[in-house]
């Protein structure tokens, strides 16, 4: 069952700013200085690409009905989180030509 905005119907506050159902406030992510992530509940639900880890493999599922994934690039990174610090151990960007 899809729960978009369980706490309140609608996706916008009355001043027309998005509520968490649509977009959460951008809070600075101290782990990744370069990226600010916008976390979106509706967007997560509608995402056309899903993935999960099976053993040492990443499985990626294309949920588009007609599109391949050629129009997307993928950034992958592996983060190690500890008690005091984060190391970004592996980071790579896929740039296909």
């Amino acid at each position: 069952l899809i729960r978009l905005t369980p706490q309140q119907d609608g996706l916008l506050f009355s001043d027309h700013t998005p509520n968490p159902g649509l977009v959460s406030t951008a809070i600075f992510d101290i782990s990744t200085v370069a990226d600010v992530y916008y976390k979106i509940e509706l967007k997560k639900t509608y995402a056309p690409v899903r993935g999960w880890v099976e053993g040492d493999q990443l499985v990626i599922e294309n949920e588009y009905l007609f599109n391949g994934l050629d129009h997307l690039s993928a950034d992958m990174k592996i983060e190690v989180f500890g008690d005091r610090s984060v190391s970004l151990l592996s980071c790579q960007v896929c740039k296909t030509e």
Binding site: L1, R3, P6, Q7, Q8, F13, S14, P20, S24, I27, F28, D29, I30, S31, T32, Y38, K39, E41, K43, K44, T45, A47, P48, V49, G51, W52, V53, E54, D56, Q57, L58, V59, I60, E61, N62, E63, Y64, L65, N67, G68, L69, H71, L72, S73, A74, D75, M76, K77, I78, E79, V80, F81, G82, D83, S87, L88, L89, S90, Q92, C94
Partner: protein, 425 residues
Amino acid sequence: MTDRDSLISSTVFPLEVLTIDPGKQGKVTLPPIPKHEPHEEVFLAVIFRQRTSTAWADAGYEVASIQSRLGSKPAASIATTPANIQTSELSVEHTQQAYTISAADWSLAFDRATGFLSSWSFNERSLLHVNSSSPLLLPDFWRAPTDNDAASDAKDWKRWGLDSMTSSLRSISVSQTPSHITITTSSRMAPPILAWGFIVNTTYDISQSGAIRITVNIKPSGAAPRTVPHVGILLRLDSSLDHASWFGLGPGEAYADKKAAQRIGLWSADIDELHTPYEVPQENGNRMDTRWLRISDERGEGGLKVRMVRSEGEESQEKEQEQEQGLFEWTLSRYSAATLEAAKHPCDLIGKEEDAVLLRLDKKMAGVGTGACGPREYCCGIGDVCAWMSTDDRAGIGEKYEVKCVEWNLAFLLEPMRRACGPRY
């Protein structure tokens, strides 16, 4: 570059991933899991972005993201009471009213009549609200009803008096070893008039460094309600301690049944950002799956570091409840549950801020559920929609997202921060 964002290795994402046909799956072999300490955790993040701009989004727009743990869960984060940084003598002073425990740079006191922690200061700065008429640290079960709660669960909870619990002390004792002082209290938390309540046994284990390991055993007695809104403790902190940084799900709010859009990471936010201004003020701003939490002032100084620690009997309990060990939920707010509940609109909250900062540390917070097809008592279970709903998706809070009113053990380690930690923003 710092140790926080050092780039140690780099690999190339295979291209075939990106030629997955519609409806199909593709597999990519992951690089080896980097070496890490047993208590550290490794996460993989993949972000899919548009290569070129389209009529609806610019190039680089994030279309989808994946996050997944790599390798095993971390070894039990054994939050040992921190090594004693100093060797100053612990002393306990008994008076008629209080036990006062102090060392060179900190002191704390317990009220002997109520059993409550009544003051806690570190480097001559108070961590807790001063001159408070409310308890500074108390088990907490109530939440401002959500729109979904209001239809059914909140009525039950109020009938059981969960919004008006008070605590009465049965016994308090103090014991001392050279390196620790332990205060043990036994009290009963109950609503007025009704015959049921919780027996609450609390142990405060205080180390020379000034850290408190607080262990709470909560046991319902008498005919108790089936569920409670949440189970945790509520602290009233000094009002300057209004910044949080944490390792867990973020940056936005999360509840057990609406957390998929949040990501594990290191996050920081101030108390205003932690509040979600719903049009009808209600329970909000919960952060989940937290490994540690630091509360500080706006300069990143002072305050507390919080971790959940293991308590006796917890292992079997967690197995039963399929909870991951050492993860807790929390909110930091200037509004009490009663204030949120009373407010009809966000403007009604203006001027209703508490003098203290309210820090709620939860072992478990109920999900927000759904009221999409009406309150539970009108749920027929046979309609087109209801027929395929599991009990986890029915009207109200799904069964596995409820907090059962049973015996609970919780244990938190609260460490005063000796100096500024982490980056400042």
